[in-house]
Symmetry: C2
Subunit: 505 residues, 2 copies
Amino acid sequence: MAKKPKTAIQPTRQEDYPEWYQQVIRAAELAEVSPVRGCMVIKPWGYSLWENMQAVLDKMFKDTGHENAYFPLFIPMSFLEKEAEHVEGFAKECAVVTHHRLEPGPDGGLVPAGPLEEPLIVRPTSETIIGSMYAKWIQSYRDLPILINQWANVVRWELRTRLFLRTAEFLWQEGHTAHATEQEAREETMQMLKVYADFAENYMAMPVIQGEKTAGERFPGAVATYSIEAMMQDRKALQAGTSHFLGQNFSKAQEIKFQDQNGQEVFAWTTSWGVSTRLVGGLIMTHADDDGLVLPPRLAPKHVVILPIYRNDEEQATVLEYCQKLSEELSSQSYDGQPIRVMIDKRDLRGGEKNWYHVKRGVPIRMEVGPRDVAADSVFMARRDTSDKSGIGRREIVQTIGKVLKEIQDGLFERARQMRDDNTHEITSLDDFHSLFPPTDDDAKGPATGGFAICHWKESPEVEALLKERKLTIRCVPFGEENAQGTCIFSGRPSQGRAVFAKAY
Amino acid sequence: MAKKPKTAIQPTRQEDYPEWYQQVIRAAELAEVSPVRGCMVIKPWGYSLWENMQAVLDKMFKDTGHENAYFPLFIPMSFLEKEAEHVEGFAKECAVVTHHRLEPGPDGGLVPAGPLEEPLIVRPTSETIIGSMYAKWIQSYRDLPILINQWANVVRWELRTRLFLRTAEFLWQEGHTAHATEQEAREETMQMLKVYADFAENYMAMPVIQGEKTAGERFPGAVATYSIEAMMQDRKALQAGTSHFLGQNFSKAQEIKFQDQNGQEVFAWTTSWGVSTRLVGGLIMTHADDDGLVLPPRLAPKHVVILPIYRNDEEQATVLEYCQKLSEELSSQSYDGQPIRVMIDKRDLRGGEKNWYHVKRGVPIRMEVGPRDVAADSVFMARRDTSDKSGIGRREIVQTIGKVLKEIQDGLFERARQMRDDNTHEITSLDDFHSLFPPTDDDAKGPATGGFAICHWKESPEVEALLKERKLTIRCVPFGEENAQGTCIFSGRPSQGRAVFAKAY
C-alpha cells in the first residue's frame, strides 16, 4: 500500500467532504458551535474575514446610493401576518418572545413572567417592520426612492444546522428599497444582484451564475427572486445571495402609498436583497484544500505572515530586527488600494507547528526568516495557493508583493472557474440526466457526483417528484436562458427555458 | 412684551428640556419610536453618526490589542442563574423566548407553538454566554490573555424609554477579557476606561469625570465598576461608559480555570466594558442648541454642506459647476487624518428651507454659493457652532478648512467644559447641599437646578433616604478622591472620600 500523503486536515475532501468542512473551520479557528442550540460563535479569525466582507459590500452599497439604518430586532406577530405568503414562509422557524421578565418559580428556579399582550417574533427578515416605517415616511413621490440597508442579526429556527451555512442565528445585511415606478424597482433589484456577483467573483474569487429562481423557490411574498449560485468543491450548489422584486405585494399589505406627480394616490414598488455569513461557508468550500483554509488576498485578514526562526538570544535579536524592518517595508506597499496587511508571529512555538498554524488559517503568503536569510538579505517564501516555496531577495519581494497577491487572487478565481466549468453539463436527454445524478448517490460522503446540469424543462408534478427523489433542486434560470426554445428532457413537452439543476446546500 | 427670538426647535431648552430633546432628534432625523414597544428606529443620519463613533472606537480597541468576535443572541436561562447577583440584576428586564414556531390557533390567528425545553433570554449583556466559551478555550496560562470585543444589539425590557438614552433594544459594544493575574485584569479595566474618556473628550467633545461607582451602583456581579460621567446642558449627569473589574466572580461561577506556570489550577480574572448608542443621546444633550443638533467635526457624517443658489438655468449651470469644483477641492483637503466630508445639496427646495434643514442636522459648516459668489470667487460661509456668517475667498477656505474644523471641535469641548465647571460645586455643608438641590425642583421642565456637587460622605440609610427623596444619585468617586480626609456633610461622621452627587439620566 502506497504511503498516504500527510494532510493537515483529516479526513480529506475525498474521504468525507462534510466532515472535512467542519475540520477546516476548527483548524482555522473560524467558528464553533455554541451551547445555544443552532447558534454559532464566530471566533476572531472568522469574524475578521466577515468584517472585510462587510467593508467591501458596505462601500458598494454606499457607492450605489444606499444609506445604513437600524430597525427593531422584534416584529409584532400581527405584522408578519399581514402578507399571507410571507408569514406562511416563516411561521415554522420563528423564535417567539412571550414574556418580559423572570420570576422565582415554585421549585425555586426562575420561570418566565410578565406575559406580553402580543407575542414578538425575533426578526427572520425585516420587510414587515421596515415597511411599516416606510408607510409613515412616504407621502409623496418626492420622498422616493428610499434606499436603505441594514446590517443585523436574524433568527430562523433551523433544526439541522451547519456552521456558517445554516444556523439559527446569522449575521447579514438586508437592503430594503421603495420606488415610485415598477421599472425603477426592477432596475434596483438587478443592480444589487450585479453588486453581489461582482463581490462574489472579484473579491471572494468565487464564480457565480446569475439568474431567476423558479416560482417554488421564490422568497415568500416576492414577485420575482434572483440569485447568484456558486459551485462548491463537492459539486453542490450554494445560493450565495438573493435580490427580490417585491412588486406591490408588501406595499399593499402595509399601505405604503404616495401621491404621484399627477396627484394620484398609488402604491410604492419595493425590493429587498441580502447576503449573510453564509458567504464565509461558500468561501471555505470554494478554496480550502486538504491542508485547511485558503484565503483570497482581497479578503484575507492578513496578506503576509512573517515567521522568525532563531536558536539563541543573539540570533533572536538580529532576526527580529530584520523581520520588523521587512514588515514595515511590506506594509508601506499596497495591494487593492490598501496597505499590505502583515503580521509577525513571535510566539514561542516550534517552527513546524507555527508554520502549519498559518497554513491551516489560509494566510496567502508565509515568509520564514532565519539567521542565514538575514545574512543573504532574503526570505524563504511559501504561497498558500500553490504550495510554491522559494528563497527570494528582500528587495524583490517588497517590490513585487502587490503583484504576487494579485496573481494569487486571479489564480484562485481561475481554478474555481475551471472546476465549475468542468462540472457543468448541458444535458439533452433523460438518460444523460440519470447518469449525471444516479439514484444510488444519496449518502455518499465524498464529492457528490453530478455538478450542474443545464437542461430544458417544463414544470410538472412528475419533474417535482423526480427532483425530490434525487434530492435535486432547480438552482435558477440563468439570464439569457428564459426564452431558450427546446424540449423538456423529462416530459418531451415544449420547454419553458433552460435551468440549472444541482444538489444544493 | 419683547418679541421672542425665533428658534428652529420648539420648545427651547429653557422652556421644556425633555421635549426639546425629542424635537431635536425629530428635526435632525436621527431616530424615531417604532411600533415595537420601547424599540427605536435609527434613521440614516443618526446611524451614520453611530457608524463614525464605531469606527473610532473600533480602531482604539484594536490598537490596544483587542479582536472582534460574535457570540449568540440568546442566553439559556440556566446560564444567567449561575451568578447570583447577575441574574438578580437582570431578571426584571428580560425578553424571554419560549417557543420556536407559530401555528394557527383556535381563532384562526397564529399562536406560539413548539415550546422550548429551556427558555432563552435575549442577551441583556453577554458575560455568561461568553464566559462559557472562555471556560472551553482557556486551559493554560499560555491561552491568556483573551482580549475580545463584540459589536451587538442587546435587550433590556425598560418600561420608561427615551430615544437613545434608554430603549428596550440598543446597540453597543461589549469587551470581555480574561487574564492570568488580578493586576493585569485591573490594568485592563483602567485602560478601557481611559479609552472611553479619550473618546468622549477628544471625539465627542464631551468632558467627563472618571471614577469608581459606589457599591450600590455596581454592575451586577462586578467587584468594581468604573464609569465616565458627563454633564448635560440641563445639568443632569449622564453615565456614558462603564468598565468593570469582575474579579473571579464570573470565572468561579463558570469554571474559567487554567494551569498557571507552576502547574496549579487557578481561576482566571475577568473584565467587561461597554458603551452604547446612549452616547448619541449624550452628544445631542451636550452640544445641541435651540436651533437643533450641533455636531463635533470629528464625528460629523458631513463636515461641509454646499448650498447652490440660482434663479434660472443659466445661473444653475454656472453655480453647480463652481460648487462641484469647490467640493472636489475641499475633499482633497484633510482633517483628522481623513478627507474632508463634503456634500452638495442640489434638491429643489427654497433656500431658507434648505439652509435650516442642515442647521437642524448640525452640519459644522454651510457654504452658500450664488452667481455673485461665483463672480467674486468666494463663498458665504456659516458656522454651526457660533452662528458666524461671512464671505470668504475660495482659495482661503480651501486652504484653511482643516484649521476651521479643528477650531470648531476645540471650541465645542471648551464650551462644554466651561458649562460643566460652572455647574460643579464643592459642597461642604448640608445647607449648601439643600440650596443646590432644593426639594421643590422635582417636576421642573427647564434645566434642573444643581449640577454636580462634590462632597464628603459616608454611606448610611439616612443618606440613601435623602438621595431617594431628592431623586439624586452618587455618580462616582472621582479618581484621587477615594482617600480624601474629611467629614460627611450628611452625618458629621468621618467621610469615606469625596463623591459626585447629581440628578442623572
